[in-house]
């Protein structure tokens, strides 16, 4: 079953008086339960494609349909609600809030929901356990290593149990050993049924994924 349908997607950036098509007519289907790697050289449009997939950036042309919702047919605020329900983002530089503890960072997506405090705590604790950070719930992010911070970011993306995880070079700031541990975690999540789309430049990571998409100059080179 198709979770994502991308049709003739174009994103144009204006730099000076030059127009650049960062994504230049991509069509693509992604099925439920896939673990997709998006590769390609720097500037090939990987991040741009990912933000459009996540409903963060409006395309110039084309459509993104997720779970039968045309997400750019929604209003801005509806798209925010959509992100809350459907998408968990994991960023390369972790993007944790420095003034919240590990537990609180994981609970950010829950702060705007009506669940009870105890439910929220329970969900966050379960996710921290899943990513192997059980004992560090009350630390602040700057007291953790890079690999641990990335796990917090993953737990935060998962806590809402969204159907789709979007990760942009999640291992880009990590050493090879830590990188492998994180990829192992993603693989395990995928085996439990989680759909993941991950931008990566690291060839080694491809052994963990189920599918590889390669971009060049904003177009599909290999699918």
């Amino acid at each position: 079953m198709n979770l994502i349908q991308i049709n003739e997607l174009v994103k144009t950036y204006q730099t000076g008086h030059e127009k650049v098509n960062a994504v230049d007519g991509i069509s693509l289907d992604i099925e439920l339960g896939e673990f997709v790697a998006v590769t390609g050289s720097s500037g090939s449009g990987k991040s741009t494609l990912l933000t459009m997939l996540g409903g963060l950036s409006h395309p110039a042309e084309g459509t993104v349909v997720i779970d039968e919702i045309d997400i750019y047919g929604l209003s801005k605020e509806q798209r925010a609600d959509f992100r809350k329900e459907y998408v968990g983002f994991v960023f390369q530089s972790f993007h944790l809030l420095p003034y919240l503890t590990v537990q609180e960072n994981v609970m950010i997506p829950l702060a705007i929901s009506n669940l009870s405090q105890s439910d929220k705590n329970e969900m966050a604790t379960r996710m921290l356990e899943k990513v192997g950070l059980k004992g560090k719930a009350n630390r602040l992010p700057n007291e953790l290593s890079g690999g641990e911070q990335e796990r917090v970011a993953i737990a935060r993306a998962l806590v809402n149990e969204p159907p789709l995880i979007l990760a942009d070079e999640p291992t880009g700031n990590l050493d090879t050993a830590t990188s492998n541990v994180i990829m192992q975690l993603f693989k395990q999540l995928n085996e439990e049924g989680q759909t993941i789309v991950m931008v990566t430049h690291d060839e080694q990571n491809l052994e963990f994924t189920t599918r590889n998409i390669q971009l060049k100059d904003g177009r599909l080179l290999k699918n």
Partner: protein
């Protein structure tokens, strides 16, 4: 965890960030509180000190012949064809509409008498009222209590070579000098004061009085109203308002009040600007953070809520601390400008006013920056995504 936990932690774990804003707001609020406290205290103080300013209304018998002058003291006994005031007139003054504004009524009987072959002005007074009116008098010895006791002015003591406790004869009747007035340069130095009733007996005046001095205070009605009401009650008397220092003082308080309002408005506008610039700067610094919230699925209204909650927390703290800071400073400043008769106490109404002003300024100056923050493009904010 709720949105306010995010606001609270953001402030609590990054205190330095908002310190400038907090201090700016705090100084503004406490300055306004100081000005408010001081104007209020000055008003209360003048009410307390009213009697220190002496009489402001003088009542004398109507006369076509002479202008009766208390200052010149050439007064009563000389005038003829005059219907003198009676003690019953005192009660009539107590019946006017603004009777609550009348604080002191001091009747006097003036006569010239002979002591040791010298002519002296002898004044019959109600000592209690007279002393309330002449707060500045310094008495050596004591105030007369008995009918045959007298209080004499410094000049009388010198010229007649008298001393405390000495017995004197006034028109041949014996009196004892109970107290001596310290020299104050006024006509009081020349007087001998005795009990009003005793004086009426001594000079065969029945229940006559020569003049009445009245001290009245009215904030919201002019003294002329009280004068007019008294004239109505006493058709045979001439009632005049005496120009007085209290009037000038009340006018200067009113001017200070206007000045305070003006200064407060300027200060609060500046505080609003400080809040606006620091909030805008803070939003700029937090672009990435706002991008994270938006990526996670926070609505624009959630972003506005987070920032306005922070503004609310800071301005509440500034409002409360600002009040107490202002209160402490007012306690030191008020006596310096002469308002020393009133204790400045903690006032719940003032705390609420302080809190409200602070919150209104803090929130309204943060509104635009928060809306701007909510409209940031999350992809620009997450450049490294």
């Amino acid at each position: 965890m709720k949105l306010y936990n995010i606001s609270l932690n953001s402030l609590w774990r990054r205190k330095a960030r908002m310190l400038f804003l907090l201090v700016g707001l705090l100084i503004a609020i406490s300055t306004v509180i100081i000005l408010l406290n001081i104007t209020q205290t000055m008003n209360n103080d003048i009410a307390n000190k009213l009697d220190e300013f002496g009489a402001n209304i003088l009542i004398v018998p109507q006369s076509d012949e002479l202008s009766l002058s208390y200052g010149g003291m050439s007064v009563s006994g000389v005038a003829f064809d005059v219907k003198p005031l009676q003690e019953s007139d005192i009660l009539k003054i107590g019946k006017i509409k603004n009777k609550d504004n009348i604080k002191i009524i001091s009747p006097k009987l003036l006569n010239v008498a002979e002591i040791q072959q010298k002519k002296v002005m002898v004044v019959g007074v109600d000592f209690e009222q007279e002393l309330a009116l002449k707060k500045w008098w310094i008495i050596i010895g004591a105030t007369p209590k008995e009918k045959d006791e007298a209080l004499i002015g410094a000049d009388v003591k010198k010229k007649l070579n008298l001393s405390l406790g000495q017995a004197i004869l006034i028109n041949g009747v014996p009196f004892k000098i109970k107290g001596i007035l310290e020299e104050n340069g006024s006509q009081d130095d020349q007087l001998v004061l005795i009990d009003l009733g005793r004086a009426q007996q001594l000079f065969n005046k029945g229940s006559e009085i020569s003049l009445i001095e009245v001290a009245a205070l009215c904030y919201d009605c002019p003294i002329e109203d009280i004068v007019a009401q008294t004239s109505e009650q006493l058709p045979g008397a001439k009632v005049t308002a005496i120009q007085q220092t209290i009037k000038t003082k009340m006018k200067s308080i009113a001017q200070f009040e206007q000045f305070s309002i003006g200064v407060s408005i300027v200060i609060l506008l500046v505080a609003g600007l400080i809040v606006f610039t620091s909030m805008s700067a803070s939003v700029n610094e937090r672009k990435k953070e706002i991008g994270i919230f938006r990526a996670i699925g926070y609505r624009q209204s959630h972003i506005i809520q987070i920032i306005l909650q922070e503004a609310f927390l800071i301005s509440s703290v500034a409002g409360i601390i600002g009040y107490f800071l202002g209160w402490v400073v007012s306690i030191y400043v008020a006596p310096m400008i002469g308002a020393d008769s009133v204790a400045i106490s903690i006032n719940i109404n003032m705390i609420s006013i302080s809190l409200m002003i602070s919150i209104i300024i803090g929130m309204s100056a943060s509104l635009y920056p928060s809306i701007k923050a909510s409209r940031l493009d999350p992809t620009v904010a997450l450049q490294s995504l």
